[in-house]
């Protein structure tokens, strides 16, 4: 049965987020002949029309409503809820991002809908959509389905393929009614280093207590730069003030699923594993051969990170130049 799918796209630092393309790709596979539409809130959204069209959306909804120019969960909620009605969406997909985590539950509550959060896989079983999601910080998984109403899910970034499928995308502007809930965003301080976003990074070089100091992160940064990746950290490194908490990966902190995770001087406490154990390939570099991180690692080097990491950087530089 064909279904209308609405994808809530998102930008970050002026670029469409990768998870939005992943959501559009999933949308194609679950629409079953129905229409895939996208919505992008915020001013200047129309500029992303061409990029959205590469992933097969039939329409892109934008709104120049003043209340949507700066993100607030309350305004986005009202706008999205009215759009879901307008386009008669059967399935709504968005990223499990900071915005998705706030807006999706609010919209679901507003419209009396179910919501399956933080999905890592979506499949069809006898015509029904089945959503897989990690529970207990990735120590277990569950499969969920909808038994009533519209289907609404948020997707964990980096867990779905994105497939280009060019389409003619029609730009449609809409004007939702938005009631002011008197919340003011006063200031946004960017603490995350420009460039690669941790939650969507394909490669992460991460440091733990073993980096010993703030300066100790320098060789990790150099390796990450050569690989075009991002730098992360364990809670231990953040607690010891070697780096900002914005880099923290773990049960508290960010959950990441990169293609390659290089853990340097990280022992592998269960709280850290919860944030990175689903990475496709894990490399551990640690002096202690008994460190639990080696139990989840695909490849391990027992050695001093201050020796190994610069050597790796050099070797990758060499290899990537000759390729």
């Amino acid at each position: 049965m064909s279904k209308n799918v609405l994808v809530v796209a998102e930008t970050k630092n002026g670029k469409l987020r990768n998870v939005s393309f992943e959501a559009l790709t999933i949308a194609q596979s679950v629409a079953d002949g129905g229409e895939v539409a996208a919505v992008l809130f915020g001013s200047g959204a129309a500029a992303y029309l061409e990029e959205i069209s590469r992933y097969g959306a039939a329409r892109l909804y934008v709104s120049d409503h003043e209340a949507l120019s700066t993100y607030t969960a309350e305004a986005y909620t009202q706008a999205l809820a009215s759009l879901i009605q307008e386009v008669q969406a059967d399935i709504i997909l968005m990223g499990n991002t900071a915005i998705g985590k706030e807006v999706a539950p609010r919209v679901a509550a507003r419209m009396g809908m179910g919501l399956i959060s933080d999905c890592t896989s979506v499949e069809t079983n006898e015509g029904n959509l089945v959503f897989t999601r990690p529970i207990y910080a990735g120590k277990a998984f569950e499969k969920k389905t909808f038994c009533k109403g519209k289907e609404f899910a948020t997707l964990r970034p980096n867990n779905f393929e994105k497939v280009i499928k060019p389409a003619q995308t029609e730009l449609v502007s809409f004007q939702p009614e938005i009631q002011d809930l008197r919340k003011i965003v006063k200031e946004i301080v960017k603490k995350t280093a420009g460039g690669v976003d941790l939650s969507e990074a394909k490669i992460i070089v991460s440091g733990g207590r073993g980096v010993k100091s703030a300066e100790g992160f320098q060789p990790l940064r150099e390796l990450a730069e050569v690989l075009g990746g991002a730098v992360g950290a364990s809670r231990g490194a953040c607690d010891a003030e070697y780096c900002d908490y914005s880099l923290q990966i773990g049960q508290t902190g960010k959950v990441v699923t990169p293609d390659l995770y290089i853990a340097c001087g990280i022992s592998g406490a269960i709280q850290h594993l919860a944030g990175m154990s689903s990475s496709k390939i894990i490399v551990a570099i640690n002096k202690d051969p008994e460190a639990p991180i080696f139990q989840v690692a695909d490849y391990g080097i027992v050695g001093d990170l201050f020796e190994v990491v610069p050597m790796l950087t050099k070797e990758f530089k060499k290899a990537l130049v000759t390729s």
């Binding site: 607030t72 969960a73 309350e74 900071a98 985590k101 706030e102 999706a104 539950p105 679901a108 509550a109 809908m113 179910g114 919501l115 399956i116 959060s117 933080d118 089945v130 990690p134 529970i135 910080a137 990735g138 120590k139 277990a140 998984f141 569950e142 499969k143 969920k144 038994c147 009533k148 809930l181 008197r182 919340k183 003011i184 965003v185 006063k186 946004i188 301080v189 603490k191 995350t192 976003d197 939650s199 490669i203 914005s246 880099l247 508290t252 902190g253 960010k254 390659l260 269960i270 390939i281 551990a284 490849y299 080097i301 050695g303 190994v308 050597m311 790796l312 070797e315 990758f316 290899a319």
Partner: protein
Amino acid sequence: MKILVLLKQTFDTEEKISLQNGKINEQGVEFIINPYDEYAVEEAMKLKEELGAEVTILTVGPSRTESALRTALAMGADKALMIEYNGSEADEYVISNLIAAAIRNQGFDLILGGYMAVDSGAGQIAIRVAEILGIPQIAAITKLSIVGRNATAERDVEGDLETIEVELPFLATAQQGLNEPRYPSLPGIMKAKKKPIEKVLADELEISNEERSVRTEILDQYLPPKKQAGQILTGEMDHQVSELVQLLRTKAKVI
């Protein structure tokens, strides 16, 4: 000021997860206050000390959850409300409807909760409650100050810092870094024994049949497949390093 804290009792984060009949096994498990909810309780205590407030703790769950409520009362909360629910099928939609029904028209100025529960990891309940009650929310706060009816909060947005201003009443969810939760003191534990816990059965709350009917269901819970043992490289360090680069490029194909 009247503060409500939404609290969930969860598995201790160090617990090993096992299965029984396709469901997560709760037998013999150590239960704690969900760590993010503990930050919410602590924040309520700090506001109470600073501004004066009556703090109520609310939970939904089976009778075992009473111990989590006692712990929160021992930390200094004034009273607790327990929505007794022994089933496992209620989803976020139903649970948030139950909570909203229990607290509606009680005039809470501030509702605090955790950013998410470490068991389900969905992070839906508190935010749904805010929407049902029609109040604004600030998710993942790392700092909160209240002067009169005005509040300023800092929140974590994927590592960036957002400063929000809002008027009471509103709901906020606690992120790590908000505070350092206190341990209950011995006198606190003694006092908590005499503090009231009001119990109401989920079935007795006045919500419509529609509001009681789940939207989602769990088909299966399972443990991830055991990861194959990794490969520890050996030999001279420069050889190990070049072998690793080779493996990542030609075998794992991630670079």
